[in-house]
């Protein structure tokens, strides 16, 4: 018995190690792509501190140093090199929201919404999570605030529809019952909006299918 448990434990550990190694190799390969591109780019723009023969390249060194601090002669490029400081808060909030969607963590979502109260995409996700958890009051309140913010910010309804679809793809809501009915009705409306906007038949078909599912959810 003890032997068998040890064998299982070893197999699990090996599987975990293999998984980790696989992941590391994956990003390592990506990193190698990037490094190779960067090397070629630096040589092409004479931004390398060394010449191909190994001797020092002063001018290239200065330009390389500028690249390290994110400066170039192009002001538009400089603006984008510096933008991460301003959008890093949004990036972090987005990551936290992704985790909260995946984990169904309402408290974490509320924290993110508190940090960026005007972001309607977060409220859309929160509404769907509330529906999944049977919290209809929150679903209603967050849904209303999504529409209010979208109107205030001039967001086209097609974009709200895309966010709704994305939320239902990432947050599991039961297919049946009152929750399922509401979910399918939301999706029906979202696909119908996209069909109206784009005229693509696939959206009409998806809207029809969602309407059928909404009916079936109450049976």
């Amino acid at each position: 018995m003890k032997e068998r448990r040890r064998t299982i434990l070893i197999i699990v550990l090996l599987a975990l190690l293999a998984l980790q190694a696989g992941c590391t190799d994956f990003t390592a390969e990506d990193k190698a792509f990037v490094r190779s591109l960067v090397q070629e780019f630096l040589e092409s723009k004479n931004m390398s501190p060394t010449n191909p023969d190994g001797s020092a390249n002063l001018f290239g060194g200065v330009r390389f140093a500028a690249a390290l601090v994110g400066r170039s002669g192009d002001q538009e490029a400089n603006a984008l090199f510096g933008i991460y400081t301003s959008v890093s808060g949004v990036v972090e909030a987005d990551k936290e929201m992704d985790e909260a969607r995946a984990n169904g963590d309402a408290a974490a979502m509320d924290q993110v919404i508190k940090s960026r109260p005007h972001d309607w995409t977060y409220r859309s996700s929160r509404a769907v999570l509330a529906l999944a958890q049977g919290d209809m009051a929150t679903y209603q309140a967050q849904g209303d605030s999504v529409y209010a913010l979208a109107e205030e910010q001039g967001i086209p309804t097609g974009r709200l529809a895309r966010q709704t679809i994305k939320d239902y793809e990432t947050i599991a809501v039961p297919d049946k019952g009152a929750q399922g009915h509401q979910k399918w009705m939301d999706l029906h409306q979202a696909y119908a909006t996209l069909y109206d906007e784009t005229g693509q038949d696939m959206y009409a078909a998806q809207a029809d299918a969602a309407a059928m599912a909404a009916m079936a959810a109450l049976e």
Binding site: K31, V38, E40, R71, Q75, E76, L80, I83, R162, Q163
Partner: protein, 323 residues
């Protein structure tokens, strides 16, 4: 002889102008030679080849007596040589007279060393200026110090220029950051445009895991927007298989060819690649039309690189290369 100061006619041996009182000093060969000797002496002194005492001793040996019986020593200023006043060497402003000046009657040399007698002996016998205490040597011109000062000034100017073009003045609040100028103080991404983009990529079968896109409308009076795409390896991003194409550039091309971005007026794209640990590795940016031209094969890779700019992280670029 005519006075160089007032032009009045004077007799050849006159020590000073009868009209304006200017003190004459003839540029005789002996005096010119003494001046050359002085120039050589000061150069040797400046190079520290001779010390103070040697300078003074050699300096006094350059004394020249003129036709009027006055004894002169060259100085740094040719118009203010030293004159022995009987007690000490005093600087004396002089009007220098060229013995062969055009339009001026040639003058006889004021002083000639007697034949067969070396000038120094003649000078010594003429009153012994060598025994007199010589004037102090000129202040050493520290060429090295001057050179260092020049170098320091150049370095200072260079450092100031480097600091000015670096992001430091922005961090110190001396200059408005380029990002703030272009996108405002608190840029608010156009979420809807990103959603459209992600939907398009998903339809095209591109895995958008770990891809965060931010469409940032310009706030500086321009219309349109820029796309800032974070490709986060720590959040599961990996480059799609692009066949024989470069996967990084293929990703940029996927973004640049998006109709959603065109609708949002995006004219520039930046991709911020982060590795498995979330560490920023590089930010690449290029105008959308350049990326599109490259993806259609209208411009070469090298021509495309010339339109691209990069911010490189040194640590991740040298990882494994440095000890």
């Amino acid at each position: 002889m005519y006075c160089p100061s007032c032009g009045a006619a004077n007799v050849e041996t006159s020590p000073q102008c009868v009209a304006c009182g200017a003190v004459f000093l003839l540029d005789t060969p002996a005096w010119l030679s003494a001046q050359r000797g002085y120039a050589d002496l000061t150069a040797r002194y400046a190079r520290s080849e001779i010390d103070n005492a040697a300078f003074q001793s050699a300096h006094v040996n350059l004394a020249v007596r003129d036709a009027a019986g006055r004894t002169w020593l060259p100085s740094e200023d040719p118009e203010r040589p030293y004159l022995w006043d009987g007690n000490a060497w005093v600087p004396q402003e002089v009007a220098r007279v060229s013995p062969a000046a055009p339009g001026v009657p040639p003058a006889q040399p004021a002083y000639q060393t007697p034949a067969g007698v070396p000038p120094a002996r003649a000078q010594r016998s003429a009153g012994g200026p060598a025994t007199r205490e010589a004037p102090p040597p000129p202040k050493k011109r520290h060429r090295l110090r001057g050179c260092c000062l020049g170098t320091l000034i150049v370095l200072f100017v260079l450092a100031a220029a480097v600091i000015w073009v670096s992001p430091l003045p922005e961090q110190w609040g001396l200059r408005r950051p380029a990002a703030e100028k272009a996108f405002g103080e608190n840029p608010e991404p156009d979420r809807g445009a990103s959603l459209e983009l992600e939907a398009e990529l998903a339809q095209a079968g591109v895995d958008t895991t770990g891809l965060y896109t931010y469409v940032l409308p310009y706030q500086d009076g321009r219309t349109g927007a820029a796309l800032y795409a974070v490709l986060d390896g720590s959040a599961g991003f990996s480059f799609p298989d692009a066949g024989d194409q470069d996967p990084v550039l293929a990703t940029m091309a996927n973004l640049a060819n998006s109709p959603a971005l065109a609708a949002a007026g995006v004219d520039r794209i930046a991709v911020d690649y982060r590795d498995g640990s979330g560490q920023q590795t590089i930010v690449l940016t290029a105008p959308v039309d350049a990326i599109q031209s490259f993806s259609r094969g209208e411009i070469t890779r090298d021509a495309f690189f010339q339109q691209m700019e990069a911010q490189v992280d040194l640590r991740s670029m040298t990882e494994g290369l440095l000890p």
